[in-house]
C-alpha cells in the first residue's frame, strides 16, 4: 500500500519529522536521524560561530534529508520574515517552519503576529509551515492565507505533556485541506501514536528524542509509534461502547 506523505507537493518517505535541537552533539543528531528514518529535519538560523567544528548541514546532507529551517526565537512578524528570508538565501529552500512565540515561559505562538507573518511570507513565495496553537479557527485562518500545512501543538514546546486537547486536534484534522502536523508536546511514543490515530498526517518532535536517556532507541520507538498510529487510523478503530460486547459466539452454548 502506497501511503506517502506529501508536503508542498514533495513526497517524503517518513511521517516523522525530526527537530535537531536539544541533542548534545552532532554525533547524536547523526544517530537519531538514522534510527528514526526521518526524511525532513528542522534547523535554526543563528550567528555564525567560526570556532565551531562540523556543521549540522553536513550531517543532514549525508543522510539525504530535506531541511526545514525554523524561525525559532522570533517574537514579531518582522523578525520572523527576515529570518525566513535569510534561511532561504543560506539554505536554498523556500520551506519555512514559521514560529512566532509570545514569551519564554510558554513559548506559545502569538496568533496575531503569526497570521500576519504567514500571509506576508506566502506572498513572498514561501512554503509556510506554521507552528500554531491547537485552535481550529486559527488553523483555518492559516490555511486561508495560503499555508501549505498547519502544525498545531499538542502541548508547550519541550514540555513532554503529550496531547492536552485531543478534541481540538480532531477538529483541526476534520476540516483541514492541507496536511496537519502535530508539533510540540510529544513526550513518549504513545503521544506520537495518538497524534496519528487522531488523523494527523505527520508528527514533528525534537526533545522527546534528543533529550531521552537513549536518544537512538527513542528515535526508533517514535518511528514505530508513528507507523502504528497511521496504520490504526487507516484501519479504522472500533467504536467505544459503554458496555461489554462479546467476541466469542453467544449461540451454541452447552447446557452444563
Amino acid at each position: 500500500m502506497s501511503d506517502e506523505l506529501v508536503l508542498a507537493g514533495e513526497k517524503l518517505g517518513s511521517r516523522l519529522i525530526l527537530g535537531t535541537g536539544g541533542a548534545p552533539s552532532l554525533q547524536v543528531v547523526d544517530e537519531v536521524i538514522g534510527a528514526s528514518g526521518t526524511a525532513l529535519c528542522t534547523v535554526s538560523m543563528r550567528r555564525v560561530d567560526p570556532t565551531t567544528a562540523g556543521s549540522i548541514l553536513d550531517v543532514l546532507s549525508r543522510h539525504g534529508v530535506r531541511i526545514l529551517p525554523n524561525t525559532a526565537g522570533c517574537r514579531t512578524a518582522r523578525e520572523a520574515i527576515l529570518t525566513a528570508q535569510l534561511a532561504r538565501d543560506a539554505l536554498d529552500t523556500d520551506w519555512v517552519k514559521l514560529e512566532v512565540v509570545a514569551d519564554d515561559d510558554t513559548l506559545l505562538p502569538d496568533a496575531i503576529e503569526l497570521v500576519d507573518a504567514a500571509e506576508r511570507l506566502v506572498a513572498d513565495g514561501f512554503k509556510v509551515f506554521p507552528y500554531t496553537n491547537d485552535d481550529p479557527i486559527l488553523a483555518r485562518r492559516l490555511q486561508r492565507v495560503g499555508c501549505v500545512a498547519v502544525m498545531p501543538l499538542g502541548a508547550p514546546i519541550g514540555s513532554g505533556l503529550g496531547i492536552l486537547n485531543p478534541h481540538n486536534i480532531e477538529l483541526i484534522v476534520a476540516e483541514a485541506e492541507v496536511p496537519v502536523v502535530l508539533d510540540a508536546g510529544v513526550g513518549t511514543a504513545s503521544d506520537a501514536t495518538l497524534a496519528m490515530e487522531l488523523g494527523c498526517d505527520a508528527v514533528l518532535l525534537a526533545s522527546a528524542v534528543t533529550r531521552a536517556q537513549d536518544p537512538g532507541l527513542m528515535a526508533a520507538a517514535m518511528a514505530a509509534a508513528v507507523d502504528a498510529g497511521r496504520l490504526a487510523r487507516l484501519a479504522g478503530r472500533i467504536p467505544k461502547r459503554e458496555h461489554a460486547h462479546a467476541s466469542s459466539p453467544t449461540t451454541g452454548m452447552a447446557v452444563l
Binding site: 527537530g19 535537531t20 534547523v43 538560523m45 567560526p50 556543521s55 529551517p69 525559532a72 527576515l82 543560506a90
Partner: protein, 66 residues
Amino acid sequence: MHITVNGEPHEMADGATLADLVAECLRSDKGVAAAVDGEVAPRGSWPGVALRDGQAVELLTAVQGG
C-alpha cells in the same frame, strides 16, 4: 571604518565590500546568509555591496534547532 559584525566591533579598510568581510571573518561561506542594517543582502550581491562606516552586519547559518 568601523563595522559591527554579529554584535562585535570589526575594522575594515575603506571601500571594502560585504564579500571582503565574509572572506575575512569566515573559513567558508557555505550555508551562510547576511543582513546589513536589518535588510537581507542576497549571497550573489555580496561583491557589489560596499560597506559604510557604522553599519551592522549579521552573518547567520543553520544550527541544531526546532
